[in-house]
Amino acid sequence: MKTGAIAVEKGTPGKAPFPSSSLRKRAWKARWYYVFMIPGILYFLIFKIAPMWGVLMSFQDYQPSLGMLKSDWVGFKHFERLFQSVDFWKLFRNTFLLAFYNLAIYFPITIVLALILNEVRHETYKRFVQTLVYIPHFLSWVVVAGITYLLMGSEGLINQAGQLIGQGRIDFLYSTDWFRPIIMLQIIWKDGGWGTIILLAALAGVNMSLYEAAKIDGASRMRMMWHITLPSIRSVIIILLILRLGNFMDLGFEQIYLMLNPLNREVGEVFDTYVFRVGIQQGQFSYSAAVGLFKSVIGLVLVWLANKLAKKFGEEGIY
């Protein structure tokens, strides 16, 4: 019943010779679309936008029993405490270094792997390799950490093998020297293959006639890669770089938290794990919210800067 009535009602104005331009009419016509949006918009308002207001608590001495309205406002007290604490430089250094290694080691590996995969002529072999290198992406960080513990623990495979060839035992998991290499190794293992997907999609779109022309001109394989393949996917690489910069500070919380212990905290603690430990576990809500806000703002500034830079070099940017 209802369905039919609506169809008739909206059928007529849609075919009117003069399309109605009044906003209210167009909005009324689209009312069912708004109904479709309601659950999603509610989600964004409650779980994404409300926490953005919640960051105001970092300017308060927030007490859960009083709520945000009654808690005392303290201005930048928590930020001052953060910037003056010894923890700050430690957190900043640890976060920055891991993020930098991520950009300088993991990202180029995905590009190289994509370029190599693109050179494979046998489709079957290519698909076989892809199937295997994508698998780790779908395993949870707990599984990755678990495998790391089993392989690199004091009684793990690597230490046992090391002892067979007369090597002393190395406490990989509790060593400050090994923390960053292990984190990088995990990232490369889990997402090294996965990171190639977007690049491979871009590589598939490279114009084949360019290669034909280059071949007639006698270009070698290396030269084609350098002068045709790489320039063709330049904009994709730049967009990925911008997105990575935007997430520069978002090292996987789960990954680092699972590998963290008192012996490697000096090099392992990053902003996210610090917020969790100090905020959720120790209950210093306002202070940890301030740390989180600081991190988010840096992230936003980085996206903005990267986007500006990309546009300056004649690329499109992400917004």
Binding site: T3, A7, V8, R26, A27, A30, Y33, F36, M37, P39, G40, I41, F47, K48, I49, A50, P51, M52, G54, L117, E119, R121, Y125, L132, Y134, I135, P136, F138, S140, W141, V142, A145, I147, L150, S154, Q160, W189, G193, I197, A201, Y211, E212, L240, Y257, L258, L260, N261, P262, L263, V275, F276, R277, G279, I280, F285, A289, S296, L300, I318, Y319
Partner: protein, 285 residues
């Protein structure tokens, strides 16, 4: 691929195939090692006698069975909910005639770039009364802004003629979605659903932050307790649990395998879809 001839090119091919072979081995060997050892009878590092004891032990443990149940429940229900809410919103946003669509898209993009952070989000989840409920594992991550935008682009690619034809036949917006757009998008919907499901199955962080009741732990938390805590009990993540007795190596490996099997089961389907580039439609808003 362009065809090249000559000795140098051959050499390059050999190099390429070797590197890729090594990369594949690097990706899969750690997992194979865990798989093989989970069937090993004794507690040394290198596998010996074949046995199913570890699996028999796990599958007779109430705790493990319960956490698997929790994970299955939140994965199935959560991915259905996510898929429904995401596709509804994406469909509405895909219609260019809807006033106010652009501001909503900007809002979504903004939430991708900036977030209130862990602590304010925790208080929101607490305020709506979700702490220690399964909802806390499904609702705070209900919608991915990225999937939403990709799905919106996907719906925009459904030919307008089809929608208009349905409209002329007397179908209204709700009908068009269910009878025209959705049936045409089923493979893509399956792919989005699977990606949501993998995320839900693998989530660990939401559980440790929102769930204190160990009876409600999903399998990832139990896995962490069994594997990480047993391996070295001084880690950060080890300190939060209750006491778990020391588990043998093969049991720890078997837990990893059992909790990963569901992922490996859906992997072929996943691969079919992301290989087609379904989720890569566009990175941009």
């Amino acid at each position: 691929m362009p065809i090249h001839e000559g000795f140098l090119s051959r050499l390059a091919d050999i190099l390429i195939y070797t590197i890729l072979g090594l990369a594949s081995a690097f990706a899969i060997l750690p997992f194979i090692y865990v798989l093989v050892n989970s069937f090993s009878a004794n507690e040394t590092v290198f596998p010996t006698e074949f046995t199913l004891d570890a699996y028999r032990y796990i599958l007779s443990t109430d705790k493990f069975i319960r956490s698997m149940g929790v994970s299955i429940y939140i994965t199935v229900l959560g991915s259905v909910l996510s898929l429904v809410v995401t596709s509804f919103m994406a469909y509405a946003l895909s219609n260019r005639k809807v006033p106010g669509r652009q501001p909503v898209l900007m809002l979504v993009l903004f939430t991708i770039l900036f977030s209130g952070g862990m602590i304010p989000t925790y208080f929101v989840v607490r305020a709506v009364g979700m702490i220690d409920t399964y909802w806390a594992l499904m609702i705070p991550g209900l919608l991915s802004g990225f999937y939403l935008i990709v799905m919106k682009d996907f719906f925009q690619n459904v030919p307008d003629e089809l929608k208009e034809a349905a409209e002329i036949d007397g179908c209204h917006e709700v009908g068009i979605f269910f009878r025209v757009v959705l049936p045409l998008s089923l493979p893509a919907m399956a792919a989005f659903g699977l990606f949501y499901a993998v995320g839900l199955w693998n989530q660990y962080f939401s559980a440790i932050i929102y769930i204190n009741d160990s009876n409600k732990w999903p399998v990832q938390v139990l896995l962490q307790q069994v594997v990480v805590q047993a391996s070295g009990s001084i880690g950060d993540s080890a300190s939060m649990g209750e006491n778990v007795s020391f588990y043998g190596q093969s049991v720890r490996m078997a837990v990893i395998i059992v909790s990963t099997v569901p992922i490996l089961c859906v992997y072929p389907f996943l691969q079919k879809h992301f290989a087609k580039g379904v989720l890569l439609g566009s990175v941009k808003g």
